[in-house]
């Protein structure tokens, strides 16, 4: 019996790219100071990163995650100074 290929919606992938803890983040520092100045003394450290939202044409979430991981290693993150985390939205 032939499997009918249903038209699945592409999977949505969310990727957060952040500086490694050891790397200085001057932008984060400035944001932290600005927040304190405008009335948020309770703010602690601020680290600024990047957020990417992609649609990937993969059937299985685990395939999408593997692809996303590969993309991060190859281009999206500079692994010398950046970490990344991946979230698949089903």
């Amino acid at each position: 019996m032939a499997l009918i290929q249903l038209n699945r919606k592409p999977l949505k992938v969310r990727i957060h790219i952040t500086l490694k803890p050891s790397v200085l983040d001057p932008q984060g520092k400035v944001i932290e100071q600005s927040l304190k100045r405008i009335g948020f003394p309770q703010i602690g450290q601020v680290r600024q990163g990047k957020f990417l939202e992609l649609t990937i044409n993969e059937k299985e979430p685990k395939d999408a995650e593997a692809t996303a991981r590969l993309m991060c290693e190859k281009l999206l993150a500079n692994t010398v100074i950046e970490d990344y985390s991946i979230e698949i939205i089903t």
């Binding site: 790397v23 200085l24 001057p26 932008q27 400035v30 190859k74 281009l75 500079n78 010398v80 100074i81």
Partner: protein, 229 residues
Amino acid sequence: MKAAVIVFPGSNCDRDVASALRKYASAQVKMVWHGESALPEVDFIAIPGGFAYGDYLRAGAIAARSPVMESVLKKASAGIPILGICNGFQVLTECGLLPGTLLRNRDLKFVCKTVTLKVATSDSIFTRDFDRNNMVSMPIAHNDGNYYANPETLESLTSENRIAFHYCMKDGSVNDDKSPNGSQMSIAGILSKSRRVLGMMPHPERATDLEHGSTDGKAMFTALVNELA
């Protein structure tokens, strides 16, 4: 001498460096589009300044993954000298030909001014016509020139004498707090282990003619004539 200047979408200083190579290195220059899969026979490769791919994602990141870069890497292995200026330096760190990375300037603003550099080594084909500890003047113009590398890398750069230039004060003293962009050890340029790849943030091609105010960059191009004739 046959030179190639790589042109990415967004490169700006390709014509500038080609001019300097023709005028002062007597080079036959070929402008090579990033989409080419192979480089022609060349004696020298320049990766120019600018905003390749708009500096989007990270400066030099997307350019470093262009089709032509595979050929550039092969040429580097074969010992062909490569000079990466500004955006070119960023591309070289992104493709692994040089260690470390260039982060956003410490003061978070684009900075364009003429700076004083201390030549840290004359043991390279690019800097052979300078004396060690010479001070030279060249313009910088960048958003992301803050050199960063982990302690082990900095250690090997130092012990192997591969730092090419430091930003320094007019009196020659190096003061990391006063560097124009916050670079570690005030590093303005570094060499590969082979000493045949140089990446530098300042623009020597903007300091060659009398009209430029400083002609200190000229010696880097004239040095190539002798080396690669």
